[in-house]
Symmetry: C2
Subunit: 429 residues, 2 copies
């Protein structure tokens, strides 16, 4: 299939929150304590909430920048492409990139909202979290119906409140909850603790997918403080196998057979090995560990419960039948540094062609699987023939996608002595 | 190729140290402070060195036991198959299992000898470490020439001493050093610290492979204290990708082009994805991170420096050309719980047949790669036609390999409430 004929629904992108996010959805009583954007003396913009200060890390908003300017420095809004935080500009960028629809993970609250959970004032935290979710659903996604898969954040500190928020959002059409890879490493009960059951029940009842994004455990895969940053970048996706194993062997999916989990930005090429490893572990050990999947193998259980995704993964596409044709979705990762926006369709067409992916298979990967797992129907808003890469790019017209330098000269780009320990504490979401 | 015609050299097995290990090789002045075996009140045997007490964990010596009896309890010598710690019995087990030669990692000192490094008396520690190495080379390997790839331990606390020990052992024909996946997590300088250079230089000069075994970082992949133990078992092999990334991006292999590294017990099926990830990371990021491999890709650098291995890995065999036909070796993992001894040849023949592995390719995987990487020549001791699975099994005669219960009734086999935190601190080697 040619790139121009594909229909692309991305299950992993990111938004940078605009400064006015809390103006309309937060009750007045909380407004003076809401998270706010502050311009620092060094010229960067940070979000401040209580005592926490969260920079926008450069690597998280590099779409459209020269690679020489990628980096981990704090960034100001005007140093980012506007599509990072302005939804109208985002849709123009999506059109130019041939992307029909997008699921956008949060930035400053952390992928799972742990910034809110860390605030001691739980009434305030809950109000802020709900305002964030309302903004995300009503304004970000609502501005362009059919162009965004809506997603919610949960109050991590209380499973009953989390369940209530899932049900509140589901009534607004939200079928994705962004959650942590590992609640235990964030200081909450682990996946194996029964106290989470109200949340699993709500997700199951409302057909809401637990979307766990790499890096959301609060623990970056950092080998040593003086390791090159390339080590950390390399290791992020496979690190999510810890979440996959943790949930696969847990009581959770045995007790909640309708629970669905997405391994967001986790890649796919390692999955077949992982499934073999699961089955071998079961075969060699279940007689003494007490694991029991009845007449099924762990790899079959995985395929029932887990959605995987990739940006461009030649090995994963070659092994797609070992992963499961109903378990693979595509992602763009705009505006992060792993994205190949705006030429992602051409990249995907190339790797899919090399792997001999059929048109039917590609339709599942590019949009059908995402639509089914996330109960998302963009075709209710526009007919499929207006959803293709070619049709969207025609809509984009002459929208500027040129690579531009946003470098203000403010930042030392020698990148000498990047402190990975400091970075890990700041960048982990 | 049929199982009976294969020649099998295993690059990852384990020995349990016999109680009399230090009787002959430790200078008399140290002998009363040598590590010793103590029988505990609960009937288990432990090694004691200074204030440290190290149990033999059940999972580490389960060869020939029913799977129902696998477990993580401390074990007594008579509850193990004799081939775990008696080299003559080991060779009979190897013959019965069709294995020509074996590289045996240590047990009680930890895979990288961190028990010795933890002792405050460094003179004693060095004497004990050298005695261990001499025992391993002269007695364990020396008892049956051509049947074992000799391996040494390094004094982790001093790179100059480590280099000297590498050179001392190389003069005795040792071309493998067992080392930690991550010196930083053990409290030593990281791989990126120049203080290790004397060791890298000695390894390069003497053509000694740095063999890093999974689990040797001192950090098991444990998601939460209450996670099922299946989680940890599943995650161990892929966790070694951290060591691979740490070394691949380091200055070490740029400065020491002759350095060779083995990812012991790391599996192979995840390697092609990992190589893609390395190359994509380089492509997207090297302009700002400053990585420079000249005109080579990171995946090519990997193939120059890294040996991988597997027990039975259908995905790895299917993708063998993406890994590199000169970079894959086979392992038996006797007497650990992942091993399929004594039917490993049949298991390998089955997975290799399913993947369409040719005879030439299988020869590389089963023995030629191991022989070249580890400068090991078993054919100097016996002609190849006497090295096949069939020939060795004929030598074994009616050696008993039946699955036998060693259960003394001492241990609660309900395995309820296995404490992963406690296990991690005890089992990590």
């Amino acid at each position: 299939m040619e790139a121009k004929d594909m229909i692309l629904v991305s299950v992993d992108d990111h938004l940078v929150e605009p400064p006015d996010l809390f103006q309309r959805h937060l009750p007045a009583a909380y407004r003076d304590r809401a998270p706010r954007v502050v311009r620092k003396d060094d010229g960067s913009d940070v979000w401040v909430f209580g005592k926490a200060e969260i920079p926008n890390i450069g690597l998280n908003a590099v779409a459209g920048r020269p690679k020489e300017e990628y980096g981990v420095e704090p960034t100001a809004f005007e140093e980012m492409r506007r599509g990072c935080w302005d939804v109208d500009e985002r849709v123009k960028d999506m059109n130019a990139g041939g992307v029909l629809a997008s699921m956008c993970f949060p930035s400053f609250p952390g992928f799972s909202g742990r910034l809110f959970a860390a605030n001691a004032d739980k009434d305030l935290a809950l109000a802020v979290l709900r305002a964030y979710n309302d903004w995300h659903v009503d304004e970000w996604c609502g501005a362009h119906p059919g162009r965004f898969i809506p997603m919610g954040l949960a109050p991590l500190w209380d499973a009953e409140l989390a369940a209530a928020e899932v049900r509140r959002l589901a009534a607004k059409g939200v079928h994705s909850l962004t959650f942590t890879e590992n609640p235990a490493t964030l200081g909450f009960p682990s996946y194996h603790d029964e106290s989470w059951d109200p949340l699993w029940r709500a997700l199951s009842d409302e057909q809401v997918v637990l979307s766990v994004h790499l890096g959301s455990s609060g623990q970056l895969a950092v080998t040593a403080p003086d390791a090159p940053i390339d080590v950390m970048i390399t290791l992020q996706p496979m690190n999510i196998c810890q979440a996959a194993a943790d949930l696969l062997w847990s009581r959770v999916i045995k007790r909640f057979p309708d629970l669905r989990v997405a391994l967001s930005e986790g890649g796919t090429g390692w999955i077949p090995y992982f499934l073999d490893r699961l089955d071998r572990t079961y075969d060699m050990h279940h007689l003494w560990t007490g694991q029991d999947f009845g007449d099924r193998k762990p790899s079959e259980v995985f395929r029932q419960h887990f959605l995987t995704c990739f940006i461009a993964d030649p090995v994963g596409l070659q092994l797609r039948h070992l992963i499961g044709m109903d378990n693979i979705a595509w992602e763009c990762d705009y505006p992060h540094s792993d994205s190949s926006w705006p030429t992602a369709p051409e990249e995907l067409a190339e790797v899919a062609g090399a792997a001999g992916v059929t048109e039917d298979e590609l339709a599942k990967i590019t949009h059908q699987n995402a639509m089914r797992w996330y109960s998302f129907d963009p075709f209710a808003h526009r007919p499929p023939e207006q959803c293709t890469v070619a049709a969207l790019r025609a809509e984009a017209g002459d929208h500027d996608v040129s690579v531009r330098s946003f470098d203000t000269g403010r930042v030392d780009r020698s990148h000498k002595g990047v402190d990975l320990g400091r970075l890990a504490s700041k960048a982990t979401a």
